[in-house]
Symmetry: C2
Subunit: 229 residues, 2 copies
């Protein structure tokens, strides 16, 4: 037979497309897939592994195979590994990542402020306050930070941007994990989040842009002063 592995994966994708399946929908069992695509179980399993890595399919042990959520988990995996691999290498990956995150958030200033919403504003302010409280107690506030940046993008209704934001945040958190956080940087970060909320509620684009820049200033400083730590 000699079906290429790539072709097996392609046929499974075709199966999903032709049957108009969506995330969560069940796929045939491995045995049925073998018969359907005309390959051995090993080959089918390897193709499924490839598709699983891309979150195109999702496998539950002892239960079945399903269409995946089509998240950007693969991007996170890929970028974090790059960050870990080039750790000696100047924090270059993190530096590049910060520029991307800042560019996207600043570039979307207009649309974000245009899609302003009172409910969102309340939630943002609440999160910023929580971050201040936790920081005062010397606790970490990474969960609130993640939620904050996601909430900022949510009103846009652009799912790709939301997922990219989440993915970049995740990579940042993993790659920057070793960066020490001085009390001053923490204070600066907390203040920046409050400034962002204020700019959003005031509808002030330039203030928003400045606040985003201030938000990333501590990391940028840290990256400049000592790449190799």
């Amino acid at each position: 037979m000699m079906l290429r592995q790539h072709e097996v994966a392609e046929r499974i994708k075709q199966y999903i497309l032709q049957n108009r399946l969506g995330p969560g929908d069940p796929l045939p069992t491995e045995a049925e897939l073998c018969a359907a695509v005309g390959a051995s179980r090993s080959s089918v399993r390897e193709a499924i592994k490839t598709l699983t890595a891309l979150d195109i399919v999702e496998v539950r042990h002892g239960h079945g195979t399903y269409v995946g959520r089509l998240s950007l988990a693969a991007l996170v995996e890929s970028l974090t590994f790059r960050g870990l691999l080039s750790r000696s290498d100047d924090f270059r990956v993190l530096s590049e990542l910060v520029q991307v995150r800042q560019t996207i958030e600043q570039g979307l200033a207009g649309p974000i402020l245009a899609a302003f919403d009172d409910g969102i504003h309340g939630e943002l302010l609440d999160l910023a306050d929580q971050m201040a409280e936790r920081a005062a107690r010397g606790e970490s506030f990474i969960d609130q930070d993640r939620e904050f940046h996601l909430l900022l993008m949510e009103p846009l209704g652009n799912e790709l941007i939301t997922q990219l934001t989440a993915a970049f945040w995740d990579v940042h958190a993993i790659v920057a994990h070793t960066l020490d956080t001085s009390p001053e940087s923490v204070r600066e970060t907390v203040e920046a989040h409050h400034a962002i909320v204020a700019a959003v509620s005031a509808g002030d684009v330039t203030a928003f842009t400045r606040a985003i820049e201030a938000h990333y200033a501590p990391v940028r400083r840290r990256l400049q002063e000592g790449p190799g730590r």
Copy 2:
């Protein structure tokens, strides 16, 4: 033994990290990897499949296994499949993608113009001219378009941005493949590229921003008028 699949992949990644390997460096053979991580060939092969999908490892049939190029191929795969899956669904994915591309290019206006370079300017102008010529002959100019947008980002020296630009362009080309191109849209697109070059050489940020917006105007229009075709 019962090693989780995920752990096998993790151990292979650890191997790469601990041995300070980089793209192109050879990995042990399958048999050696089996002994190293303590798993069967099947399990190791499936783990390798996962890592291959992320371009963390690269396999050459009959030759060996190597560290991959760490490209964003997985992102392209993932996003294109999403686009194909929701094709009926309003071209929503393409619409979101256009906003991301435009945001990044406009948001980087400052840094791009700051990193201006005569050599780049000449190449950009050359590409824009080629596009005009090919358009006049009714030919496609997608290769020149891709090169143009990559060249625009190159002076930044941010490899992540370069790869994201390439990935987004690739997804756009695949997902928008069915979009018909009216002669007027083509003319508009060609003009936009010349306007971008002019703005870059003049160092005019607002002109650059306007040119980028004009560049994506035809697609946006097409997306608005008829989602389902």
